[in-house]
């Protein structure tokens, strides 16, 4: 069995990054609401390197101190969208946040807000996924590019640029966690879903614009966005959901055709 060694502070990194402490305190929020367990914090002293990510620090705890910490992760490279959590008060991907960039000896990790807690850092994505599905996240049109007599639908690089960045969404939920409307409105579609509605509307292969506009034109839909921009502040993939939402609303307000 492979033994995974936790990163140990080396002499070299000590001299090179003298301002960087090599032991930090990691505070992990613990709770298990379904068992009625009250929220509390567990604290651990963790050795870190310049490149240690918050996720690696949490996994160090699991390997060395307490295996029961619940955390969801998979790719460890900002691609799967599993490891969103609140890190020192702001939603971020744990695998994409280096301890050193937080400029603090104390790192507090908590479950993302606006998602029900399953246990510790793991939250429930049911609402995000169901709202995402409501946006019809697929190309809608009568014909197909896979039947024998058809050809692929041609797009120019310019056509692609109109939706490409929105298609980079990894459904990590950070945007929904930062959104001020999401904080109080339990039925809001949320920036993730609204941005995905625009991703397909902006795709010139798609003919489902009217369908989607009808879905987002709802009292808990696009009108609840106040363009506070917090979603775009925290999005780790450059999706810029705030831009997508305003461009989508442009259709409903008659600014765009």
């Amino acid at each position: 069995m492979a033994v995974v060694e936790a990163p140990k502070p080396s002499e070299e990194s000590n001299t090179k990054t003298s301002s960087q402490p090599n032991t930090i305190t990691l505070r992990i929020a613990r709770s298990n609401p379904s068992e009625g367990q009250e929220p509390s914090f567990s604290e651990f002293q963790i050795p870190v390197q310049k490149w240690t990510t918050v996720l690696e620090a949490i996994l160090y705890v699991k390997q060395n101190f307490d295996h029961s910490v619940a955390v969801r992760y998979s790719c460890r490279q900002a691609s799967c969208g599993s490891c969103g959590m609140k890190i020192n008060g702001r939603p971020a991907l744990a695998c994409y946040t280096k301890v050193s960039e937080l400029n603090s000896n104390v790192i507090t990790v908590e479950p993302m807000n606006n998602f029900p807690i399953i246990r510790d850092l793991a939250v429930d994505f049911k609402q995000l996924i169901s709202n995402h599905k409501k946006m019809k996240p697929f190309i809608i049109r009568e014909d197909s590019e896979v039947t024998p007599e058809s050809k692929e639908f041609i797009q120019t690089p310019q056509d692609l640029e109109k939706f490409l960045q929105f298609s980079y969404c990894i459904k990590c939920g950070l945007c929904n966690s930062a959104c001020p409307t999401m904080a109080t409105d339990t039925s809001f579609i949320g920036p993730q879903g609204l941005a995905q509605a625009y991703r397909y509307v902006a795709d010139n292969r798609d003919k489902g614009k009217d369908d989607r506009l009808k879905i987002v034109d709802d009292s808990h839909g696009i009108w609840r966005c106040h363009f506070a921009g917090s979603c775009s502040q925290v999005c780790p993939k450059g999706v810029d959901p705030a831009m997508a939402i305003q461009l989508l609303r442009g259709y409903l307000l008659g600014f765009r055709k």
Binding site: R90, Q165, A228, Q233
Partner: protein
């Protein structure tokens, strides 16, 4: 309990302007000034409605409102009015997709185009105009 299970931030989180940059501050100021103006409008209707009770009632009301406190409140109302209008125009245009940037290939470190310098400039200008208007208003109301 439901709040804790769903882990929503609630009103406290919604109204916390400290975490997500200037745009979130503008959102907060727009809400606060909108509610402030609404409160002022209601108060103002109540105040001016004193006139239907005749000159004595009206003069009494003026005594109550033409005070240092009254003028300080008015100065604040001027500030809220100017910020709310100027920032409101930015927000309305933004809501129509104007000035929110152009989609393109995201490049590391993925700075969002909708949080661009024009938006930020408009927010600062709204704040500056409100401050200037308040200074002028205060000098007229509170000056000799």
């Amino acid at each position: 309990m439901a709040e804790r299970l769903s882990n929503r931030e609630g009103i406290k989180g919604m109204a916390n302007p400290t975490r997500y940059g200037l745009e979130r501050v503008a959102y907060w100021l727009q809400r606060l000034s909108g509610l402030g103006l609404l409160a002022y409008l209601i108060g103002h209707i109540y105040e001016t409605s004193a006139i239907v009770n005749g000159k004595i009632a009206w003069d009494k009301m003026l005594e109550l409102t033409q005070t240092i406190e009254g003028h300080l409140i008015l100065t604040l109302v001027i500030g809220m009015c100017v910020f709310h209008t100027a920032n409101g125009i930015r927000v309305m245009l933004g809501h129509g997709g104007i000035g929110v940037g152009k989609p393109g290939q995201p490049e590391y470190p993925y700075k969002a185009a909708s949080l661009n310098y024009k938006q930020r400039l408009c927010i600062w200008v709204s704040i500056a105009l409100a401050a200037l208007a308040m200074m002028y208003g205060a000098s007229v109301l509170l000056g000799d």
